[in-house]
């Protein structure tokens, strides 16, 4: 087969949903740091979100499955720790999808802008930790519903 271009590979990676938050893709999340051909091997560089995140190995498996289904035979997945992943790398599209899904997107200010359910702005933090390592728990004092906030890191 002819070797697909890296842009094509990026496109394929952009179709893989995050295993924990399927509303966004791996490229939305910003964890794919590089795609390159080294001779006849495709090297995909991935950075972990949290060092103990159980989704990390699943993500690698899904990348491998997806790329193999597109005919990639020689594939190497490289783990890159530095620069450490930051929510600043999440795409604008990813942020919008998160909010539509019911998770308040990360903000440099350190807290959610508004309730992803009712849009209320009177909010309180319940805990720095949530249902996955990347989220915190907040509550909206307008609609009284708790919600997930994708925390900044």
């Amino acid at each position: 087969m002819t070797r697909p271009g890296v842009e094509q590979v990026w496109e394929w990676l952009g179709e893989i949903p995050d295993p924990e938050i399927p509303a966004i893709t791996l490229t939305d999340l910003g964890i794919i740091r590089d795609v390159a051909w080294q001779e006849d091997t495709l090297v995909v560089t991935v950075t972990p979100t949290y060092s103990g995140c159980p989704a990390t190995s699943l993500i690698n498996m899904e990348i491998e499955t997806a790329l193999r289904s597109h005919g990639i035979e020689k594939l190497e997945l490289k783990r890159q720790l530095s620069p450490a992943w930051t929510t600043d790398w999440m795409t604008e599209e990813g942020r919008a999808k998160l909010e539509a899904y019911g998770i308040a997107p990360p903000r440099p200010a350190g807290g959610p802008e508004r309730c992803p359910r009712c849009g209320g702005t009177t909010l309180e933090k319940l805990s720095q930790f949530g249902s996955t390592p990347c989220k915190a728990q907040w509550r909206c004092r307008d609609c009284l519903e708790p919600f997930d906030y994708f925390k900044c890191i």
């Binding site: 060092s51 720790l81 450490a84 805990s127 930790f129 949530g130 728990q137």
Partner: protein
């Protein structure tokens, strides 16, 4: 970098870092499903998960530096008590929820300073691990400090328990700042700071949080030691390993 320095010392340093996060991570995970409220249960499980994730990074590197063909898993599950290099503080039993959070804060406060310094390490790998771990630790220390203040400056009952936790745990804090030949080799190679040099920042941070928590730091500073040198762990570590290592001991090489 790792080629030009004393590899035995570097490996010992990495074991100290990785064993601290491994043993504390396991301890904290014992709360899973038992915490007083759901939010706290989730927070403790997340903290444990981060610590075990950091362990993977430290022990991977320790195993590589050792060069004996062992993996991070081998180091975690097939060593016995005398080969562990964690400080005694992290192997102490959980006690009540307050004691667990007090232990967590006393550790998190140290880790926040240590990881900050390690980001200037001459060893690239150490620098990268510290950069990653520091981001996670920022959330741990924020929460453990908040909880220590909330419970310390809480009801009479919670205050009494937090003061008792501090009195029990504080004699184990001094070990974090002890130096030996391994530390000297790390300082010499620019890999890690002299532990003693972290004390001032630590005292400032802990002092501030204890003041907010209306808790009194014990005056007599007896220091329990022996964990990070491996000369003498507490009786508690063996019991912890019995649980943590059981599967690999009973079914060697078991995978799923």
């Amino acid at each position: 970098m790792a080629d030009t320095i004393d590899r035995t010392a570097l490996q010992q340093f990495l074991l100290r870092m990785g064993d601290n996060t491994l043993i504390l991570g396991h301890r904290v995970s014992e709360w899973c499903g038992h915490a007083p409220v759901l939010e706290e249960d989730i927070a403790l499980a997340n903290t444990a998960l981060d610590l075990i994730g950091q362990t993977q990074l430290w022990l991977d590197y320790a195993a590589e530096v050792e060069g004996a063909g062992r993996s991070a898993d081998d180091l975690a599950f097939l060593r016995d008590v005398w080969d562990f290099r964690n400080v005694l503080l992290v192997e102490l039993p959980n006690g009540d929820f307050g004691q667990t959070l007090m232990r967590q804060f006393l550790y998190d406060a140290w880790a926040s300073i240590m990881l900050g310094r390690l980001q200037k390490s001459a060893d690239e790998r150490v620098r990268e691990i510290a950069e990653k771990a520091a981001k996670e630790n920022a959330y741990h220390v924020e929460r453990s400090a908040d909880t220590v203040v909330g419970l310390g400056d809480g009801t009479e009952e919670s205050h009494t328990r937090m003061q008792a936790a501090l009195d029990y745990l504080y004699p184990y804090v001094g070990e974090l700042f002890e130096s030996d030949a391994t530390d000297a080799a790390m300082v010499e190679a620019g890999v890690a700071p002299d532990p003693a040099g972290l004390r001032e920042d630590y005292d400032a941070l802990v002092g501030r949080v204890m003041a907010d928590a209306t808790l009194r730091l014990p005056e007599k500073a007896y220091v329990h030691r022996g964990g990070r040198s491996g000369t003498m762990h507490t009786e508690h570590l063996g019991h912890l390993l019995c649980t943590m290592q059981w599967l690999q001991r009973a079914y060697p090489g078991c995978r799923w």
